[in-house]
């Protein structure tokens, strides 16, 4: 129609078509609603609250077990990594469970895709916005508060870069479950398997690690302490040599595979 001559058409092409608009929307679901601070508060209480409780009761425990302050600090970091690694990941799974499924079921995905937006842009906008928000809420905020708590307790800050790299590994662990939840959302039509499978994989490490043999190296389980394994994130934070790098490489590969399958599957979805 001639009336649109005054408008400047969107010039995104190919897979990028609609990406900026969709990313803006996905970001707004975190930062223009109560979602970000509710999530921040919940996970602060659970993750850093546990660390605070541990540090607050450490004086009695230290005396009873005759531990050095350094040993207490090591334990505190381990507690933090366990809490962030397990409960932070649960937070990721809960936040991501309905991301694709809800839009497929409600019809909003069909509405969006009736506009000039690519299916790749639809998936990537969700991935990018949720990775950014969850990393801020579950990694940056939790890590910063934990670092401040550890500094306040010991009177001097723990080594910063090992702490940051350890948090990076925690982030990789979370990203595995985020990508897994995303791909399951493209494969299933109900929330059950989308939340059940990642939770099952996360907690199976605690009980089945000993039976997994070499397979355990191909999963992200060894990144956090579980099933008697100290955890690569702890090794990095404590400046110990890494016992293995295979789980890190395997986790990166899984994330790429999950993202690729999510894009492939969603491109074939019929509405």
């Amino acid at each position: 129609m001639s009336a649109n001559a005054t408008f400047q058409p969107v010039n995104e092409r190919g897979w990028r078509r609609g990406f900026a608009n969709l990313l803006r929307y996905e970001n707004s679901t975190w930062w223009r609603t109560r979602r970000w601070w509710i999530n921040s508060l919940i996970w602060l209480v659970i993750i850093n609250g546990t660390l605070l409780a541990m540090l607050a009761s450490s004086a009695e425990v230290t005396e009873a077990l005759q531990q050095t302050p350094e040993q207490v600090m090591e334990q505190a970091r381990t507690v933090f990594v366990v809490m962030a690694g397990i409960f932070g990941t649960v937070g990721v799974i809960i936040a991501m469970q309905g991301t694709i499924i809800d839009e497929k079921k409600s019809g909003t995905a069909a509405w969006i895709l009736s506009k000039p937006a690519s299916r790749t842009a639809f998936i990537l906008a969700k991935l990018v916005a949720n990775v950014a928000a969850l990393f801020v809420v579950l990694l940056v905020l939790q890590g910063t508060v934990a670092y401040l708590q550890l500094t306040a307790y010991s009177g001097s800050p723990p080594p910063l870069m090992p702490f940051v790299f350890g948090m990076g590994l925690l982030g990789l662990h979370m990203l595995f479950y985020l990508a897994l939840t995303l791909v399951l959302g493209t494969l299933f039509q109900d929330r059950g398997p989308v939340i059940g499978i990642p939770i099952g994989i996360l907690f199976s490490a605690m009980f089945l690690m000993g039976y997994m043999g070499q397979f355990a190296y191909l999963m992200p389980w060894m990144i956090i302490p579980s099933g008697g394994v100290q955890g690569l994130a702890i090794e990095v934070m404590l400046e110990q040599p890494l016992s293995t790098t295979t789980p890190i490489v395997a986790t990166v590969v899984w994330i790429v595979i999950f993202t690729g399958v999510a894009l492939w599957r969603f491109a074939r979805e019929e509405f």
């Binding site: 608009n21 803006r24 909003t108 009736s114 000039p116």
Partner: protein, 322 residues
């Protein structure tokens, strides 16, 4: 003008199968430019499936389809740039207001001049009568308001083709009236392809109609041709009095092919006179009947089918449409 240029939608043997069931069978649909094209059929006939195939929301099992000459599988984004779509049960992001929904929709098409986009949003809200609810969350919108918002978002981009799936289904008579008025207003600028179960609406605004049954196209024609039926030209007269002699006199004329008189039991009867020559009938039929002083003609006209009659005769045993 080339044939392709005059057709906005052109499907050839378009077929869609779901788990072995043919939802759409070898559909050959031709939608002319600037038409208001009514797409009718009973529940499950394949109307929504056709629309989804045209928009790239589903893939054809076989056959092909083009919109503006662009292939629906290979050039789906190119097609969607020029199309506005209203779904049968439109869903939007509930956290948004009507204005935010339109802004979000507009950004798929336009960038730059925010003022121009906001002006367009205001115009569109005005057009569908939602200006006073523009900044309310759509969570609390009624079905009719959602439908109005649906029409607004479908035409925010000045589409060359509007695809509306049951646009007036959830509206009250006033809302329906408004929607039809909007459609009539837009016909100058765009082609409208819409499915509906409200046959009177189709008869009022459509210029071309297609009827689908069990995934197969059973009729496609300009509405006038469809309403004329295939019985030839018939004139009807409501007559008081005994018309036996007149029936014989009429039958003696070469341009009269048949006379059918149905008494109504009150001394009146309905006459259906089939004719071979329309002009002769218009000139002579009424005069001939009125020559008989024992007869009184209370109504005279050319028989018009209504769409419901045509639809029911074609679709057969189906009782509901939609």
């Amino acid at each position: 003008m080339h044939h392709e240029e005059t057709l906005v939608i052109n499907t050839q043997g378009l077929t869609k199968t779901f788990k072995g069931v043919n939802a759409l069978q070898a559909l050959n649909l031709k939608v002319p430019k600037n038409s208001i094209f009514g797409f009718l059929g009973p529940n499950g006939a394949g109307k929504t499936t056709t629309i989804k195939l045209l928009l790239g929301l589903a893939r054809p099992t076989s056959g092909s389809a083009s919109v503006f000459g662009l292939d629906v599988v290979k050039d789906s984004t190119g097609i969607r740039k020029r199309v506005g779509y209203l779904a049968q049960d439109p869903r939007y992001y509930e956290s948004m207001t009507a204005r935010e929904t339109l802004r979000f929709t507009a950004r798929f098409f336009y960038s730059g001049s925010k003022a121009a986009i906001e002006e367009r949003i205001d115009q569109t809200l005005e057009l569908v009568g939602l200006s006073d609810k523009a900044d309310r969350s759509i969570k609390g919108f009624s079905g009719g308001e959602r439908q109005r918002l649906g029409i607004a978002q479908a035409q925010i981009n000045y589409p060359d083709l509007l695809i509306l799936d049951e646009p007036a289904a959830s509206l009250d008579p006033m809302g329906r009236h408004d929607v039809l008025e909007v459609m009539e207003r837009l016909r100058k600028h765009t082609t409208i392809f819409y499915s509906t179960h409200i046959l009177s609406d189709v008869q009022r605004v459509s210029d071309t109609v297609a009827i689908l049954k069990k995934g197969q196209l059973i009729a496609q024609a300009p509405i006038d041709a469809l309403l004329a039926g295939n019985e030839g030209v018939i004139y009807t007269l409501s007559v008081k009095g005994d018309g036996q002699g007149m029936e014989e006199r009429l039958c003696s004329h070469s341009w009269v092919t048949a006379v059918n008189i149905v008494p109504d039991g009150n001394g009146s009867s309905l006459w259906q006179v089939s004719v071979a020559d329309e002009t002769a009938a218009e000139d002579h039929l009424l005069r001939l009947v009125l020559e008989d002083r024992t007869l009184t003609v209370t109504a005279f006209g050319r028989k018009q089918h209504d769409l419901e009659e045509v639809f029911m005769s074609m679709v057969g045993e189906e009782k509901h449409v939609g």
